[in-house]
Symmetry: C2
């Protein structure tokens, strides 16, 4: 799988041969978080993303309600079949996890693809920095904070952050690198004392896994793509489809295309 | 003075009418640190600066030994007369402080102008950040560290840093802004725990004045133009001329010309 093109991997996913986590696949290509909801809710959600671009960076969107082909994101991308695992929410409650959403499709569904941290983690590692969750082979630790998102219609909530511990000099370099990638959460929001952003226990993340913080390192916090998922759960649209965590859409866009410099 | 052009201020300095600190003058224009020494030492010093660009960013240099006009830095700039106060070192010892070095000029002297923090402090303030030493009306606190410079010939030493306390989110923004200005020390070298870079007491700077660090702020450390001065004092060239601290060359270059983006 590691050597396959994004198109090749999507074909395996569509055929049902592959339904696993996409972490580490198609190195160098953008992967995205999925959110699909009825048009009547999508307008509010679009505004929510635009008001909160650090946690909710939109990298793709269907051009018309009901469209399931996303040609801007890659060759023959069919969003109903090309993600390895989907979650279906009804009125904010997770009701099903499936590998194909064709039978749930509706003519009013609008698709959003949001940037994900895989892209900037790859840039950090390429620069020689360590990304602790990757070194330790676990999910990145994520925390609810007291940083309010700007509300839009029925969508509101606080920002969820991911955390990667670094030495200060490495954190400074990471800030420089991530500044170049505003559509995958951009520069960190905070570093150092977790209580300043409402995190009570750095060793007890709300999502993902705890990682080791070594002597001389500080926790560095980035806005996280779980933020819109939490906002969706709170808004409770009658129907919503997301990817299952870690099971992303692999696009044909090189990561460098998300760089502003 | 505040409304005068760089050229106008230099004329006042040359005539002896003005011999004070240049802080806050000619807003928007680059000011520079001075180092003048015999050619036989200048080659080593040039290499020292090139190996240590963060503390020693060269923004100008005389084209031939003995040259005292610096046309690239501004209209009619005569480095012998256009700085308000000079220091003369003999064998590493400060022996005189004068307002004109014409009588000390030698045919083998090479002039270096190095970037100074005034330029990036102006950029930080323009972005809405607070620069504590300016708010408190004192010299920026500076500290000797345990960060070795790369040696070149007879020049060596450790890095001196300046410190400005900030909230973490402001420090992240400051890192972004200063990254655009590599020739005025660029991004910070360190933040947080001072002992990690060999600073024993943050309230007892080695140069300049202590500033208030408020609850929730972290000290942020930048490479400092005092580093080359310390290296010169240690190398002990037979003769060397520097500016007196705070008494800079005011150039005709807009600060934006030092920005890489």
């Amino acid at each position: 799988m590691k050597d396959m093109t994004p198109y090749g991997i999507r074909q395996q996913i569509r055929s049902g041969e592959f339904s696993e986590n996409t972490s580490g696949l198609a190195q160098g290509f953008v992967q995205g978080n999925l959110a699909i909801m009825p048009k009547e809710w999508a307008n509010d959600f679009l505004q929510f993303c635009q008001l909160n671009p650090k946690p909710c960076p939109i990298i793709g969107m269907s051009s018309q309600p009901g469209d399931f082909m996303l040609p801007d994101l890659g060759q023959d991308v069919d969003i109903r079949t090309d993600i390895p695992k989907y979650r279906i929410y009804e009125h904010g409650v997770l009701t099903k996890e499936v590998t194909d959403v064709t039978e749930y499709w509706q003519d009013d569904l609008v698709t959003f693809l949001l940037g994900c941290s895989f892209s900037f983690e790859e840039a950090l590692i390429a620069d020689g920095l360590e990304v602790r969750n990757i070194t330790e082979g676990v999910n990145v630790p994520m925390y609810r904070t007291n940083i309010d998102c700007k509300p839009a219609g029925r969508f509101s909530g606080t920002t969820v952050v991911s955390m990667r511990p670094m030495k200060p000099a490495d954190a400074i370099r990471a800030i420089q690198i991530c500044t170049r990638f505003p559509s995958v959460h951009g520069a960190p929001l905070h570093f150092g004392d977790p209580s300043q952003i409402g995190i009570a226990d750095i060793n007890a993340p709300d999502f993902g896994d705890a990682v080791t913080i070594n002597e001389g390192e500080v926790p560095v916090f980035w806005a996280c793509g779980v933020t819109p998922q939490v906002a969706i759960e709170q808004a409770k649209p009658p129907m919503c489809i997301t990817h299952s965590p870690g099971h992303m859409l692999i696009t044909d866009l090189p990561n460098s295309r998300l760089s502003v410099l």
